[in-house]
Amino acid sequence: MPAGFIENLYVFVLAGFVGFEVIRRVSPLLHTPLMALTNALDAIVVIAAIIIAGRQGTALSAILGSIAVAAAFSNMVGGFLITDRMLRMFKASGRKGQ
């Protein structure tokens, strides 16, 4: 068992509980933006893709890494963009129009 595994498991379990507590409080009103935002945050895998694409390696890993960079980064850009567009539309009574 690699040394980092247990450490990562601690982090995973704690992050899971934090996520559960934080996300439980998100209003059902905002469940669509929530999904868009978590997708954008999940796109942080782009940092792993960047290393795969740019490190000394085979042509295969450079190609796979580059595709992964494009896929993840499109999620990051698109996810934040659409979340903000959606949230801008949510207005309370008495504050209509822009």
Binding site: P28, V45, G65, M89, K96
Partner: protein, 465 residues
Amino acid sequence: MTAHYLTDFSYIIAIALFILSLRWLSSPATARRGVLAGEIGAALAVATTFFNPELVQFKWIIVALAAGAMIGIPLGLVHMTAVPQRTAMSHALGALAAALIGISEYYMRIPHISKFEMTEIALEVIIGSLSFTGSLIAAGKLQEILPQRPIVYRGQNYVSLSVLGAAVALALALIVNPMHAYLFPAMVVISLIFGILLVTPIGGADMPTVISLLNSYVGFTAALLGFVLNTKVLVVAGALDGASGFILSVIMCRAMNRSFTNVMFGAFGQLQVSAAGAQEERTVHSATAEEAAAILAAANRVMVVPGYGMAVAQAQHKVRELYDLLSKRGVDVKFAIHPVAGRMPGHMNVLLAEADVPYDRLLDLDEANPEFPQVDVALVIGANDVTNPAARTDQSSPIYGMPVLDVEKARTVMVIKRSMSPGFAGIDNPLYYLDNTLMLFGDAKNVVANIVRELSPDGGHVSTL
């Protein structure tokens, strides 16, 4: 060494910002700040990664980032009605990225790969691959490129589970001897096929659950990738995304009265068994837009119940006009939104917010149900199963036990519907035959437009009353 610490510190800041980002999403008032926090965290993490000493070339990274932005910006600018399919596409892209990184790690590490590492990589690649094709199928169904009705055949679960079993068997063979590199592509292909088999049987009405479930799969894939690469920021981001998808799946399951295992194994087809039992002629009361307008104008409290039919007909802007006209007359108008109304969690809220309906007028299931007995008119627009009283009363109904909106407790129920044909689930709705129910047949947008015309001060008949 210093560079290493700097990377770690920036990743820790990014993680903190991600958690704050989700925390601020708890209320619409702070939610946009949350997006900003997420953006800063992500930008910081990406920027620091460029200083990683392992990197030897940047050309393809820049090209790929540019390509990603070129795909991402249009995906961020889609119309609000297309948000469900966009979300499914985004799950697919996330799963693709995670699966490709896992595949690339395998080929980088062989022949020096331990059984433990092989287990992590195999699990990550299997879940990533099946989430990729599963999400593509979901997106195809939502975009209506693929048929929305469930595609079922005999012994389907056995076939699907055997395919999954084959992928797991190949993974086990690879764990026993990671040198059998020729098995690896086979494992990937079989996992891709399993993703297709998993989502194909699922009908349009079950999409909110499927999207949430795929969301959690993609999140857990990213977390697994964090284990493979020993990168904690991925473990955290993946755990947050996975937890979010998991919570939404549980909420959707509860809203449809399904067990979690039922959904996990993709046995969605079962609900669609046609309940075309008693087909005796029963009378329905239909009304014209003119009559509907008169009843609405005389009401004190109106509860609008929107469903997927409103989204399909793009009726949300006409509904807002109706809301404005009635509010101006002093009618108290609210909206009751069932968790599974529409094609993804929160779908109706976004469409109504887009049409400028204030969010404090939107009630969820628990808030809306106690109000129905005091409501004069419940106006059901393109919603069916979520208003079916049989879910409370008829034990033989396939949706018995599902929490529904108690619209029939309103003094008058008005249902806008294209025809008497049953909804997606193929279940007859006794609501339509009640004495206090009036049916308004037609396209949701046209019917609401006609009511709006009748209520408008400049024309129509009601205003002259």
